[in-house]
């Protein structure tokens, strides 16, 4: 019996690269919940990378990739864990693109991915806590940590001559992590945070919250919340009561729906969005257009997450998590030939021939630290009721 098992194991390992197989990739995103409007485009982005790899025919000796979707929700860690359990145990996925939110990602990583040794790359979880979480080298993210975003926001504010600011955040992991990061970076640069208070989403009235923010005072109000939720209520109420004129908008607050809801009052406010400069974004936008979906927030990061997994598998010559997890950093960073979006076939070719690549992808991937994006941000300014790009950071 023991002999048989060893034999079986040996053949599986040996036949891995040689024999064409069907590799399943889990796409575990928040298809329901507070980010449901974003999840569809993210999944399409990840599946675009898989389709590209399949078309090339160069992946692991002619293997094909199949996408299996699962719903991680955003706020229900139990549902996310159950969905991940299904993907890994019954669908037998080799790796997971996901989850969408920080809380769900942590739960899936600790409860399912780590015990089963499955690699996860989240395109959009940004909590600073995930940088230091115990992950056995299995967790990566193509989104930058909010620690980096806090630094970018603080620098942006100081450059605009802001001396003091009031800060309010949505009462969850994302809001708390981001607000702490903004506050500590801003204070390190000599600014003053007059108040750092939480707000609950889903309330009808935010005038009391705005009253205490206004009493604390400050040149600007930083709203680390969600644009369709409490963040909008805070800004509306602050403008109605004339408590603040200028708002600083982190990534969760930038979007067309906020401009449509508030209108003129937002003129002069500024914020940041993850995004990279130059040709890669345009190339990716053209690809997305052809595939028939939109370049939503984090769609490029999702494409990159799926692409990184597949390229690392190619580099390791195996779809086994324990084998290819160590190659993710290699394919993502220099040295090697730069691989742009749409170039996956060439990347696979180079890796098959034993060469090295430096994956750039749709979001200018550069993995640092424990495997997270270094973070490119697009600084935006609201002028005449429309958002304009100021520069890239």
């Amino acid at each position: 019996m023991k002999k048989l098992l060893t034999y079986l194991a040996a053949t599986t390992i040996l036949s891995g690269p040689a024999m064409a197989e069907e590799v399943k990739l889990g796409v575990l995103l928040g298809f329901t919940g507070p980010l449901e409007s974003v999840a569809g485009d993210m999944a399409s982005g990840a599946e675009l990378a898989m389709a590209e790899v399949n078309e090339s025919g160069a992946f692991l000796g002619g293997s094909t990739v199949v996408s299996v979707r699962g719903d991680s929700t955003c706020i229900d860690a139990g549902a996310a864990t159950a969905a991940a359990e299904r993907l890994i145990s019954s669908e037998r996925v080799s790796a997971i693109v996901g989850a969408t939110c920080s809380g769900a990602s942590t739960a899936v990583l600790q409860n399912v991915a780590m015990p089963k040794g499955v690699v996860m790359i989240s395109p959009s979880a940004t909590s600073p806590a995930l940088s230091s979480v115990e992950d056995n080298g299995l967790f990566f993210r193509t989104a930058p940590s909010d620690a980096r975003q806090g630094q970018v926001i603080a620098e942006m504010m100081v450059e605009r001559g802001v001396k003091s600011a009031a800060l309010t955040y949505t009462n969850n992991d994302y809001g708390k992590g981001l607000s702490e990061s903004i506050a500590s970076n801003f204070e390190a640069l000599g600014g003053e945070i007059t108040i750092n208070s939480a707000h609950e989403d889903g309330k009808g009235d935010y005038s009391a919250e705005v009253a205490s923010l206004s009493a604390a005072g400050g040149d600007v109000l930083i709203v680390a919340g969600y644009l369709d939720q409490g963040g909008k209520g805070i800004i509306q109420s602050a403008l109605d009561l004339d408590a603040f004129e200028t708002f600083v908008l982190p990534d969760g607050m930038v979007g067309d729906s906020l401009l449509a809801a508030i209108g003129e009052g937002l003129n002069g406010s500024y914020g940041v969005l993850p995004g990279s400069e130059g040709d890669v974004a345009a190339t990716f936008a053209a690809m997305v257009d052809k595939a028939g979906f939109k370049v939503g927030p984090y769609a490029g990061e999702s494409y990159d997450a799926a692409a990184l997994i597949l390229l690392a598998m190619q580099a390791a010559g195996s779809s086994d998590g324990a084998t290819f997890k160590d190659r993710i950093m290699d394919v993502a960073n220099a040295p090697g030939e730069q691989i742009m979006p749409g170039d996956l076939a060439r990347g696979l070719q180079i890796l098959a021939e034993g060469g090295e690549i430096d994956y750039v992808g749709a979001s200018g991937v550069e993995l640092i630290g424990a495997g997270e994006s270094a973070g490119n941000f697009r600084e935006i300014l609201v002028e005449d009721g429309a958002q304009t790009t100021v520069r890239f950071r």
Partner: protein
Amino acid sequence: MQDYANAALLLTNYLVVPGIAYGCQLALGALGVTLIFSVLRFSNFAHGELMSAGTMFAIFATWGFQAMGLSFGPVPTALVALPFAILASIAVVLLTDKAIYRFYRIKRSDPVILLIVSIGVMFVMAGLIRFLIGPDDRTFNDGARFILKAREVKDYLGLSEGVTIKTSQAITVLVASIAAGLLFWFLEKTKTGKMMRAFSDNEDLALLSGINPERIVKLAWVLAAVLATIAGTLYGLDKSYKPFVFQQLLLPIFAAAIVGGLGNPLGAVIGGFVIAFSEVALTYAYTKFLAYTLPPAWVPDGLVQFLPTDYKFAISFVILVLILLYRPTGILRGKTL
């Protein structure tokens, strides 16, 4: 002198104006709860969802008017749509009464059973509302937004503080006063109103003197539906319509009704304002106010806030507990629970 003017404007802007508008909304809600309690003798937990349903109908009617291309200048369309919404809510309460409450009333069930039944009605209504209009946030105020804008007041007076008065706040106060005034007139002056009060005081004696109980009950439901629809629509106009908010509103509304004295309409109005002003005043941060009124050396560093704003709803709870402990009948003599 200028400092005192600034301090007064500051408090008006952040405390008085929002407090009055919120107080009116709570008072209308509490009036409905109190009416049902005095006539049907149970606490109607479905009242919040009735407000929600009424607002939903008002939004549907507003959309209908807008689709027909009608608009009414500075007056929000929802105000014109209000009568239609009231009719729809009346149909809803009469149907629920006929289908559900009447069964328990005829059996002369305990008030506690009716209370539990009303919780069931609340959940069913909440579900139906989410089916019909969805769980999203809706803004349906299409009239003029402001009567006074803080920025303009500042520039006009040359002071550093201003006052904002939203059209929706003014409409709230106006409509709520008219509705409450009509209700008091009805209860005090008309024959039917007197019958209703008699029925509320002593059901058996009222029956002996030939009052038709079913008619009084129906009337109470109709009045509750009218008040709930007005309260909900005003709240929605002032803030925005979210189906989830009304279950949160239920607590301050009940607190207002009990603090004022359950079953006492005037008490409900007073209770509404007591709760509204305690919530606003206890969570307000007074630093800026003190900075205007005190000599600079005395101004404290902190926010001078009694409670963080997160505890807003806890205030209704605390007041409720204090009232039940020390004056269970409420400020004005009402019934004990």
